[in-house]
């Protein structure tokens, strides 16, 4: 029983990272119907840039700089990869361009930071805290708190500020928002900036718990796809629940079955959700008007 509780706790931290990346998918999918297949690479770049910065300053000072870097990276992806494809209304176009940008980022990262995984110095004590016999790393608590905080901040921004209202309006109906004088192109760029920013943030959150390296993003980005679909591509609550489900399922499968198979239940779950409720556990099915 204690082992199970322990697995659940580790699963929660992992799940929150998935949720944070999936949240990034949702942000851009809402405004433009596109998503960045290189979200995992945005996370990886955030972590590696953070690693370089941490050599010169404290972890906490580095955070805002990484957020700015993430936002700029998102703008770059949108301008180079997504914008031209939106203009030609080509789904194939944006999928291929975001993938090819991801490949390029990964290759560049390999050439700059090398092929080997590097440890990221932890800003918090690495000794676990004992809690009813369950050991929790302080960093795991920071992951959960940090992930929730940034999602909450983005949500508050969307709900309360006038710029946020422009984002919501664009999500609801891009053409109508455009007619009302909202620069929807700017809103889409902005959503990409936010999206990559959250990914870069997720990168520096997870980095002290795992190793940093050019390949760290691929699998995380992929898992977040499952989370986004399981939770629903348009439900904020959904990604958190979806992330937690996937995180916990993975750590428990890894322990009880085999670490080799820990990625398999995620896909099975994904296919099941699509078969039973294609809009996701928490997603609303949208009726397309004719």
């Amino acid at each position: 029983m204690e082992i199970l509780a322990q697995l659940i706790v580790s699963g929660i931290a992992l799940g929150m990272i998935y949720a944070l990346i999936a949240f990034g998918y949702q942000l851009t999918f809402a405004t433009s119907g596109t998503l960045n297949f290189g979200q995992g690479e945005a996370l990886m770049l955030g972590a590696l840039v953070g690693l370089t910065l941490v050599g010169h300053m404290s972890y906490w000072l580095m955070l805002p700089l990484v957020l700015v870097f993430g936002a700029l990276q998102g703008i770059f992806v949108e301008r180079v990869g997504v914008l031209p494809a939106i203009k030609t209304k080509s789904e194939f176009g944006w999928i291929m361009t975001t993938i090819s940008l991801a490949i390029i980022f990964k290759n560049v990262a390999e050439n700059v930071w090398g092929h080997d995984d590097i440890t990221f110095p932890s800003p918090l004590p690495t000794a676990p805290i004992q809690f009813l016999g369950i050991r929790v790393l302080p960093m795991e608590i920071l992951v959960v708190v940090g992930a929730l905080a940034i999602m909450l901040a983005v949500e508050m921004f969307n709900r309360k500020s006038i710029y946020g209202k422009a984002v919501v309006a664009t999500s609801n109906d891009r053409d109508a928002a455009g007619l009302m004088g909202i620069n929807t192109g700017m809103v889409i760029t902005f959503s990409y900036a936010l999206s990559s920013m959250t990914a870069a943030f997720a990168g520096v959150l997870i980095a002290p718990l795992t190793l940093t390296g050019s390949t760290m993003g691929v699998v995380l980005g992929l898992k977040a796809f499952s989370v986004a679909i399981i939770g629903g591509l348009n439900s904020g609550m959904g990604v958190i629940v979806g992330g937690l489900i996937l995180g916990i399922v993975e750590t428990t499968t890894g322990y009880y079955v085999s670490t080799g198979y820990k990625d398999v239940p995620g896909l099975v779950l994904l296919l099941l959700v699509l078969a039973i409720k294609p809009s996701g556990l928490f997603g609303k099915s949208v009726i397309k008007k004719v």
Binding site: M96, F225, A228
Partner: protein
Amino acid sequence: MSAINKTSIVLVLIVAAMLPTIWPNPYYIHLMVVIAIYAILLLGLDIVVGYVGEVSLGHAALFGIGAYTAGVLNFQLGLPFLLAIPASIAVTGLFGILLALPALRVNGPYLAMVTLAFGTIIQILINEMTFLTNGPMGLSVRKPIWLGHQVTGTDYYYIVLVALVATIYVVQRILKSHLGRAFEALHDSPIASDCMGVSVYGYKVYAFVLSAGIAGLAGSLYTYSEEYISPNTYNFELTILFLLAVIMGGRKTRTGPVLGAIIVVMLPNVLSDIELFKVISIGIAVISVVYSLYMLVTHQRSLNQVAIPVIATVVLATSGFFMENITDHRLTIFGVMILFVVYYLPNGIMGFLRNLVLKFKPHWIQRHVLILEHGDKNHVWSVPDHPVTTNGHLLEARNIVMQFGGLKALSEVNLNIAKGTVHGLIGPNGSGKSTTMNVLTGIYKPTSGEIEFNGKIITGASPSKIAGEGIARTFQNVQLFGEMTAIENVLVGLHHTFKHSLIDVVFQTPRCRKEKHTAEVRAASLLQFVGLEALANEEARNLPYGKQRLLEIARALALNPSLLLLDEPAAGLTAPDIKDLIEMIEKIRGHGITVILIEHHMDVVMSICDRVTVLDFGQKISEGTPAQVQSDEKVIEAYLGGSAKEA
């Protein structure tokens, strides 16, 4: 097929057959085998990417499943080559079904996301299931021994060549048949396709499974070519390589995949030799500069448009002189190539050449197969697939409620349509007429209520199912298959008359040819009925608005409906055209087809409708003969506002 085409195909085959004698080096022969195998896979991938318009990131995994099925069956059970190949096709097809059934239920990038996840999982499974696959150690198989003769590399080249030619032939047959037409139709207008009984979901799954089966064939051939397989071959990079090959070669062609395969197989060789890379990248830069200059001089492109590709190619060419070693930057170059192709060669090399030919010798290329059948009056009408058997009303909608969030578009609407009548449905804008149409044809699932058609409850059935039951429709905002010709549009409506199977298509059986001929005569006759016979081979998007509406009627009639829903057919028609339309609707009624007519031209409604229902704010406010409705005070109030007395 023209004589020139036939001779060129024969010539290409002869050259392909002679290649091993020209280059007897085993390394080259092996490269040619791999090119042919990739080409087979790409022909299948093109069905999904080019025709259906979905993105699959799982074709490397499907290729791997094919390879491992053949490998495992041979290694563990000793199954011979000729049995292992069909087994691979079947198993990979099954995996295709497993993926496509859930992933294609929703529109959007879901297939890409799911297949990407699938790709990683398959690699993990191959690695982990050591009892079957021997894990990371890989499997060894030998080329078959036939009649005491060990098949050599050169022999195997001929085997793969035969497989490639067969695949090209089969894929070509399928895409030129009603199946290919269905694929193109669902890509062009999914809604119209569903309402013509061509289920978008069903045919997308069909296309994906076909494509998976072909990937299985390619995979199993690969196993015997390499004689050793290991899990790491079938990775994400290979998937991207396949997609690059399809778009670079040219989508929706048979030559494109072959060309794409040649490029991506040679690519690693180019990218490992820096001298060769310099030569080729300089070549590409020169071509791009010359072409851009030509476009600038002829004012076809502005400086801004050509600046980026020219700079990119020149940077690529100069970068060759600064890199000491190219393998470290291989993936970056690869990514830049994809970006370049997506933006500047969206139709691939074949598409680019095609456009060049079209510019100088337009008559060399036919965009569509001309269908020159002549229609006649005897072939316009046919009996419905499901004859009308009910004794009561043909259609009864009971207490229909349709709610969009907080808005009730329809509240408690009852509608009874008598057999053989023209039933008008009128009301001010926003009164729920088109919503009613969409509920009746299954595009919207009603929040509550029940619809009975021809004695069957059809509430909640899919649009294609309802179309199959015999309800055809036209659309308020025209939904034609724009890139298809007029007659092809009608042929999509006749899809339900093609009862022959894939096997018939591949072998062009008499049954297949007969059904095709019958359908073409029927389509020509229907076009004649609506007065469009002269425009049969014109692309639908080029027709004037009024003619497009008439084409929609012809397409709907092709479904052999017992109930026809016309949504504002007179919109955009001139006065004499409207007179023809009224005559047409009367003829349709004369042949026993019941009609529901939404129309704003009151003269049309009043002159042909037997009964009229009036909707306002989602509620039925009046029903009766045209005369009764016209004098109903509620109706006058709805249209003119205020009460009649005040006015």
